[in-house]
């Protein structure tokens, strides 16, 4: 996390163009500019700037946006719910669709259904999100007029962005599920489950899918940062007033404090997701639960 913040800070520092130029008018004199820069701390050496920023951040002060001239935290607070909803719903819908599909593909391995689903989802993964998003806008919003084009004024504005997010992200989850299910199907305890007399459906859900989930959810949680990075672009495409949009706009105008804060938040989320995936693994797998509780094995 520290590495991320430092890297971002350095990159922004080295970016061509002077952040002050973005703030003030061209006509303003050099002295005036220096004065403003001094006020904002941009005349200090690089390391001092970094240390100051870290110090402020730790104390909950993300600084002031150079573009909006307002508190960065205030800017983010308004936008977080949109991004959280987009990512959260996308994740849920993705799991609801990809898990059963993965299971079915594994059960009907090499059938037409399996090949079609896997290849189609692979194709969707390869398609850039903004392209698919634009296509959806053209078809469903412009041509058919079923759904709004962009912006946000109600839940229906979320439909297309979530669909785009899910479709482009689903392939990975689907393939992980399929390969994990294929692994578990060969386990001896699955044969035991059949030998007891359980019907195939029960075996598949209670034993095969349940055990595949240990690895699948872990991997899905670890892939959330990718989902977030995809969502950034999709927010931009659909003009959702979320964090992704804020981030991209701020980068273009070199609004350093905002960029820093947003990226920091994403870094924190990444770490949290990794942590959560460990916890979930513990919940799903009693062997790990035991060792996490510090018990013997």
């Amino acid at each position: 996390m520290i590495v991320v913040s430092f890297l971002v800070f350095s990159l922004m520092y080295m970016m061509p163009g002077d952040p002050i130029d973005m703030v003030v008018d061209r006509k303003v004199s050099q002295e005036k500019k220096a004065e403003i820069a001094h006020e904002m701390g941009y005349d200090q050496p690089f390391l001092t700037q970094y240390v100051n920023w870290v110090d402020d951040t730790i104390h909950g002060d993300f600084g002031t946006s150079t573009r909006y001239k307002t508190d960065v935290w205030g800017l983010m607070k308004e936008r977080i719910p949109y991004s959280l909803q987009l990512c959260g719903w996308s994740l849920i819908v993705e799991l609801i669709i990809a898990l059963p599909l993965g299971l079915l593909c594994a059960m009907k391995k090499d059938s037409f259904f399996d090949r079609f689903t896997v290849n189609f989802s692979l194709f969707l993964t390869a398609v850039p999100g903004f392209w698919l998003g634009a296509l959806f806008i053209i078809i469903f919003a412009v041509e058919l007029g079923w759904l709004p084009i962009s912006g946000y004024a109600g839940p229906e504005y979320f439909v297309l962005p979530i669909a785009t997010c899910v479709l482009t992200g689903m392939g990975g989850t689907l393939r992980i599920t399929k390969s994990e299910v294929l692994d578990v199907i060969n386990e001896k305890y699955v044969t035991t489950a059949y030998a007891k007399g359980l019907p195939k459906r029960t075996v598949m859900i209670k034993h095969v899918l349940r055990n595949s989930l240990i690895l699948v959810t872990t991997l899905v949680f670890m892939s959330i940062p990718w989902l977030i990075s995809g969502a950034v672009i999709i927010e931009k495409v659909f003009g959702l007033p979320g964090m992704g949009n804020l981030l991209l706009n701020s980068i273009t105008v070199q609004d350093m404090p905002v960029v820093q804060a947003v990226l920091l938040l994403i870094a924190i989320l990444t770490v949290l997701c990794n942590l959560a995936s460990d916890l979930i693994m513990g919940v799903l797998d009693p062997r790990i639960r035991l060792s996490m509780a510090g018990g013997d094995n």
């Binding site: 007891k196 007399g197 359980l198 195939k200 062997r287 094995n297």
Partner: protein, 324 residues
Amino acid sequence: MSEELLRLENLSIDYKVKEGYLSAVKDVNFSINKGEIFAVVGESGCGKSTVAHSIMNLLPGGNETITGKVIFKGRDLREVTEKEMEKIRGKEIGMIFQNPLDSLNPVYTVGSQVAEAIELDKVDKTEAWNRVVELFKDVKMPDAEERAKSFPHELSGGMRQRVMIAMMISRNPELLIADEPTTALDVTIEAQILAIIKALKEQFNTAVMLITHNFGLVAEVADKIGVMYAGEMVETGDVFEIFKNPVHPYTRLLMAALPRKTKNEGRLQTIEGNVPRITEKKPGCRFANRCPYATEKCKTEDPPMVMVGEDHMVRCHEIGKEEK
């Protein structure tokens, strides 16, 4: 009095492998009556587990071809649909697997895994759990109530094997297939498990197909015995008859190699040479390369199944001639 429960007729199983086809089981015939313990012995890799799994239609699926009949209570299980097979598994035929260590699902408690079987008979949850604890006591599980709430990784190999047995007898099957139920266990536990199997036979008239490497064990519990070699059943018959009068050269060698002392030493000792992997269909006795009595005919012609006594069958050229 003794009613036939299971009969295999010319059961052959080929596995598709890299070299072509591996004939894992060929023309196996035997029958098990109600309440009878039938022991299948033979060296590792002779196809014992393959036969056992094929009865339950639980072979891995995909690379095997099965021919012949598996007649259970007058019905050919090879013709039965998967739905009907689901009703037979566990309820009418139970099976204990060779390796108790990974035969239980690591994410559920062992008790709930046994209860899952019992609940298939429309028994409610508390009732099922009580039965689980009962069964655990029956199989001499120490601390039955506590152990039922344990996960498989918290139990020893012997305890897991008890769980497997409890699970497979929980629905009172008429036939129990036990694939080397004691190989992974030490001698004292082996004796206990055998006692459980015997008690089962006496109490519920359960028939058992007992697969083992261990001749000592066979002498102790079995009624009938089938000796397998390289996928073929080379000799079947009554235990006393075969121990007294082994006819097939392979059985004789096995008996000769048997020091009749402790059970552990009773495990099959090695005989010169290796079990061949049969990957091409050519006639001849599969034991010919190791058989002291082998003749030219043995190498070129399949030996016939010869009846040498009541219920005593042997697959060999030479014996057939002598006895005539």
